[in-house]
Symmetry: C2
Subunit: 148 residues, 2 copies
Amino acid sequence: MRYFEDFEVGEVSECGPHVVTREEILAFAKQFDPQPFHVDDEAARQSIFGGIIASGWHTAAICHRLVVEGLLGKAASMGSPGVDELRWLKPVRPGDALSVRVELLEKQPSRSKADRGSFKFRFQVSNQKGEVVMTEIANALFARRPPA
Amino acid sequence: MRYFEDFEVGEVSECGPHVVTREEILAFAKQFDPQPFHVDDEAARQSIFGGIIASGWHTAAICHRLVVEGLLGKAASMGSPGVDELRWLKPVRPGDALSVRVELLEKQPSRSKADRGSFKFRFQVSNQKGEVVMTEIANALFARRPPA
């Protein structure tokens, strides 16, 4: 288990890949983002995207899953107060393989609570062609190592 | 169908409510955010949250669904370049009823593309007690009304 103390500013993790299927894209979009370019082949073909694309919220959720598997699941994560500068830069299409590059930008012990500290990460999601499809700045709370 | 021209800065829409079930919370978390405080009752009880809470990405996805139903689905939405200042302010728990207040903060015709313009919205998600659980600034592209 990695605690707040065990992370160094500048460290980089690579998470993934995950191949996004057409079925996943449609299932997510029907539940959370039923706009025509996410759920309707013909409407999507005629849209500015030229075919079905994943909801941006689906891409963000997949990114989070990959970071939980690759980083947060092995660390003393206490949740997140929020995200800044979430950017959807390129469409995600059926069959795309997404990977996440995580860089720790800043760490700061809590001033009011001795048991935790906060991190600021940059997440960068790329597809199989190396194109960056999404970026975000993620804030996260981590537990400090308990006294021995 | 509402186009870019049909929206006025300052206009407010109310979307929802949607009652978040325990089953939904677990299903989303198992797929996208399998951290103990989202999927494991006992671990969640012992966490700082005191019980199972929804993934913040689940809350964001539900917010988006409510805005698609209440606003975007009846308008010439062309997708979103991104979101700023996404903040998870309070936990969302099983049985919570979420509603979204949408305020149009800014609108701007595109300088390079005559067929569209951009909006900046503030989304504010509240629960049944009136507590604000999530906020975000959402950027969106909308089509301009086609020439008659």
